[in-house]
Structures are given as structure tokens and as C-alpha cells.
Symmetry: C2
């Protein structure tokens, strides 16, 4: 081990990725992008290939006391598909590597794979390989996905321009509040195992947490409508954090209107019950796996009647920064409170 | 959790993979193969894409008391490249997902990435993405690799035919004996921390264990010599286990000549010191990451003078089974004693 010791927590996830990435640069003509977008881009001559990967660890990313294995399997695929969607691509193949401790039976692993299979069917991808290993500490899932996109249809996150309209799919904050509800009921259960969980009226936000969907439906609808976003990424860390990535990589600012943030009724309800701000959940909750994208103003008519898409603001000059226009008329800076597992 | 409980150990790794795979079949025209070969094959029109993935877990696949982080980083890439080599392909891009506990410093992670970088340079691949997470139990590395191969040059493991010559690259058993030497010295050290490790004369086998190479060199030499193997896979679980995969998937038998098994002098030396059979190490040791392949008899002249290639036998009819012709003239069945982590 080297002598100097810098704690990983002092850099955080993005800081460490940045530091490690510095040492690497692409050397191959078919490596179109390196580290830094939702998926890596590989030149296949006729089109681009897309490669992305995600890791899910028990105790860090999920808690099996309230996450059913089948849902977990589904989610492990969906969150990877979401990265391909975020490049405006179509996923084709996935690999799944699994490490399991002897706490898990064959039947438990089969439950997990039933969820993986359901996701493969929903998103029309094939499971083509993987790895299987024992683990000394619970369950671990590593999924990689390969997809393709036409060269003139690929969408990066660094190509937004001032005055582009800022759009988001679905609604925000639900997955975070679903998790808070599940955590609350877990604590109640731990304190008093005889109590029934109080999940009534929270089915939507709980589903948002347990079984997120990748928005391939919107990708296909944009294609049909003849819209190629100018920039796009998926909302995994929270709208604020992901918008700041878009702004920083595109060298732009943004103005988001609080009143335009799409928030489901159940998200408001759960927020009220938990004494949390629904706006904070929408901005910083994370795990929504919706798409955040920008379009040219000329394309507004092509999306305005799509109920799955909300126009929440527009891009501005970089100097203006990323701001939230509140209902009260104030412009306040958007700051990332995203996830830091370290 | 489902009610029935079958222990994973009762099926083993390959048994569980078989059981899980049954539920999946490819649905896409561009998914050329599914689970079952070294890498998945994806149709890119002009050529084939290859996708493979491997998981390395601390305490299961490596022991950091004697594995330097830099070597581990190198090995994590090399073992994935080996899967692409085994399809006669050329690797292009890798993704690395890492989970680390707070036991590790930024500097330690940088050591690991220095090894990853060295392997990327040696094998001419680009690191294009990945994931980074905290872990509650040590270090975990998941690598995926993407490569390409001309459609008429791809080599599967199910296409060997009787009378094809059976070839192996490099030498066998070294990685296993290197591990045994390192394990022995670890025990000595634990019993008496003042003792110096006795590694003299074992540098080659230790290197075989700590820093295996993917045999891309041989892939390029076969290409130059105009040889396309009839079947190929890499020797990761041990010659016996991997040969049985080739035989079963190609529906053939094999006859291997003990006297033709390539075994390094240091492997003999370590085996003698440890009172182990060098032949058993060569057959069942695993982790050599050499290539096991078959060629048409007509191609013999093109490989016979290549010092990196040993012809160790030939394929026979399936009914004859896989046999070892011993120096004493006996034909004994080859059985897999490969790895089972469960």
C-alpha cells in the first residue's frame, strides 16, 4: 500500500472518478467517447455502439428487507437500459454478473432472474452472458448493456445550447419518497414486528422506488415526432445534480420554473406525511430514471401535447448559472445534493 | 423469499448457470449467441461485436495479503481480454466498475488503476466507462470488454471436429503453483511475522499467478500464419475442465498426450517442493489464461515451428470420451476438478 493516505470520502464519488479518469485517454479511432457520458460510444462504421455498466450492492444500493428479489432483478436491467435511452439509443444485449452468499438459495436467485427476464422482455433486450460467483457478504449485481444508435441521432450531454427548451419525462421525486415510506415502515416493523405496514395510498411512489422504468417509450415517441434532443441524460442522481452535469458539460446555465416541475399527487401526499418538501424531493431525490433533455425551440410544437413530457425551463448563458424560478418569483441557485455513498 | 430452499452448492456454478439460462432465449436477430461461450456475439452488419464480463471479489478471487493492487488491476483487464482472444477477436474498449470499502485510500485505488492502465496499454484497449461505489466488505472489480472480429474469422467452442489437432499456448499449471507458493509463505508469515518469504526460484510461477497475460500475441500470429482455429476457448478453469467444455459443446472426444503437456521447469520445481503432481497442476490448476484451440491437420505446418504453441493431442469421436495417454501408455479418462467457489 502506498504511504500517503487520502480518504475517498474527502473526494467523493465524482471527485475520485475525475481524478482516476485523468490518467486515461482514448488511443483507438473507434473509441468515440471516454468516461463521462451515460454510455461509452464505439464506432461500428454503419452506426454507433453504446456500452454502459452499473453496479448494485446489497446494503449500499438496496435493502432486501423491503426490496423483493424479482423487483431488484427488474430494476438492475432498467437502470442500465436508461443509460442507453439517455444517448437516444436502442438497447440490444445485456450481461449480468452476480455474486451471492450462501444465505441465498437457488430459488432466491431464480426469483431475481425472473425479474431480469421480465425486464428483458419489456425492453426487448437479450441476456447474452455474465459471470456467477460466491460472495462473502450478501448480493451483488453488475449489469452491462450494449446498444446501438444511428450516427446522426446520437445525443450527448455536452451539446445543449442557450435558449434550448429544458424537458423532463414523467414525474420527479416519487422514487425518493417511496424509499422514505419503505424505510419508515421498516423502522416500525423492527420496533414492533406485529404491526402491519402502512403503505396505503403509497403504491405509486413505492413502485417508483422498487420498479423504475427506463423511458424507451419516450425515445421511440421522440423518434416518431421527428425530434432529436440537443442534449440528454437520465435523472439518476436527482434533477439538480444531473442538470448541473448537463450545464457544466454543455457550458451553459439554466432556468427551471418551480411551477413546471412534474410532481405526482402521491409524491405530494407522501411528502406531507413525512414532513418533507416535495420540491426538494423532485430536485434532489434521485433514482427517478426519467430523461432530462433539451430541444430546439422550433421543436416545441412536436412535444407540447405529449403528456409524458414537461417543459420545465430553458438553457441560458453559462454566466447566468443554473437557477430555480420559485413560485414566489425568486431566482435561487440550484445546488446538487445528490448521492454520495462514501 | 420462496418457500423451497435448494442450496446453490448442490448445483455448483455451472449447474446454476445452466438452470438460470434455460429460462432465456434470444429474441433479437442481432444476438448471434447467448450464454455459453467466452463472449457473446452481436451482429454489427460489417462484422461481429464481442461482449464479455468478469467479476473479481476480494476473499473469493484474490487475497490482498499477497496480491499487489497494481497486479490485480492488470489481471482484471487481462482475464477479460482473454475471453475476446478466445473468440479470435480483437478487444477495443473496457468498462471497469469498482466497489471499495473505506479501508482503501485514494492512493490505493490509484495503484489499482495504474495496473488497469498498464494492461490497457499492453492490449491496446481504451477504458471508456464504469461505475464507482462504496462497499461494506472490501474490494470488488467488475470488468466488461467489447471487441470485434471479422465474420469469417470468429471461432466458437462448439465447432471442433474429430481428427482436428488440439493445441495449447504457453505452459500450464504455473499459475496454480504460484498461488500455492504464495499461500504457503502467507501461512509462514502469519505464524512467524519475522520470517522472510522464501520465493527464490519461484518468480515465474508467481508472476503467472499475479500477472497473467491474455494471448493476443498468438491471435495475431495465427492470423499472420493464415490459420483460423476450428474451435477455441481460454484455459481459465484448468485444461481438463475447459477441454471437457470443448468436447461437450463440439460433441467430440479428445486424446491428450501427457508427454506433450507444456510445463515450465519452475512449475516442476514448485510442484516437487510442495509435494504436488505437476501433471495434476497442468490439468486442473486453472488461471493460466492460455488458449486451448483446435486446427485442421492441414494447418499443422503453419504452427509447428511456433514456440508458443504445443500440439498436445487431437479430437476423436464423442463415444471415445476425453482421455489422457500417459507416459506409461495407459489411456485414462480426463475429469474436471475445476473451481467451484460455492
Amino acid at each position: 500500500m502506498p504511504e500517503q493516505r487520502t480518504e475517498i470520502a474527502s473526494l467523493g464519488e465524482f471527485g475520485l472518478i475525475g481524478r482516476l479518469s485523468e490518467a486515461f485517454e482514448n488511443t483507438r479511432p473507434d473509441s468515440i467517447t471516454g468516461i463521462g457520458d451515460d454510455a461509452a460510444v464505439i464506432d461500428l462504421e454503419a452506426e454507433y455502439g453504446l456500452l454502459s455498466t452499473d453496479l448494485l450492492l446489497e446494503g449500499v444500493h438496496f435493502d432486501l428487507t423491503f426490496v423483493p428479489l424479482k423487483h431488484l432483478g427488474y430494476k438492475s436491467i432498467a437502470v442500465n437500459i436508461s443509460d442507453i435511452a439517455a444517448m437516444n439509443g436502442v438497447p440490444g444485449q445485456v450481461t449480468v454478473s452476480l455474486a451471492v452468499s450462501n444465505r441465498f438459495s437457488v430459488e432466491a436467485v431464480e426469483e431475481l432472474y425472473a425479474g431480469i427476464k421480465a425486464a428483458c422482455a419489456d425492453f426487448r433486450v437479450d441476456l447474452v452472458g455474465g459471470d456467477l460467483s460466491s460472495s462473502r457478504s450478501g448480493l451483488l449485481i453488475s449489469v452491462s448493456v450494449f446498444g446501438k444508435v444511428a450516427k446522426d441521432k446520437i445525443v450527448y450531454r455536452n451539446t445543449g445550447r442557450p435558449n434550448d427548451l429544458l424537458c423532463v419525462t414523467g414525474d420527479l421525486g416519487g422514487a425518493y419518497l417511496g424509499l422514505q415510506i419503505l424505510e419508515r415502515e421498516k423502522q416500525v416493523f423492527l420496533a414492533n414486528p406485529g404491526m402491519q405496514p402502512q403503505l396505503e395510498g403509497h403504491d405509486y411512489v413505492i413502485q417508483r422506488q422498487l420498479k423504475p422504468e427506463a423511458r424507451m417509450d419516450v425515445i421511440f415517441e421522440l423518434e416518431e415526432a421527428g425530434v432529436v434532443p440537443t442534449a440528454m441524460l437520465d435523472v439518476s442522481d436527482g434533477l439538480a445534480s444531473d442538470l448541473l452535469h448537463l450545464c457544466s458539460q454543455s457550458s451553459v446555465g439554466a432556468l427551471v420554473f418551480e411551477e413546471n416541475l412534474p410532481i405526482d399527487e402521491q409524491t405530494y401526499l407522501a411528502a406531507t406525511e413525512l414532513n418533507l418538501s416535495p420540491i426538494t424531493a423532485a430536485l434532489n431525490g434521485g433514482e427517478d430514471y426519467e430523461l432530462l433533455f433539451t430541444i430546439r425551440q422550433d421543436d416545441y410544437d412536436k412535444v407540447k401535447n405529449n403528456p409524458k413530457i414537461s417543459v420545465i425551463g430553458y438553457l441560458t448563458d453559462q454566466a447566468a448559472g443554473a437557477k430555480l424560478a420559485t413560485k414566489g418569483g425568486n431566482h435561487i441557485p440550484i445546488t446538487a445534493q445528490g448521492w454520495n455513498h462514501f
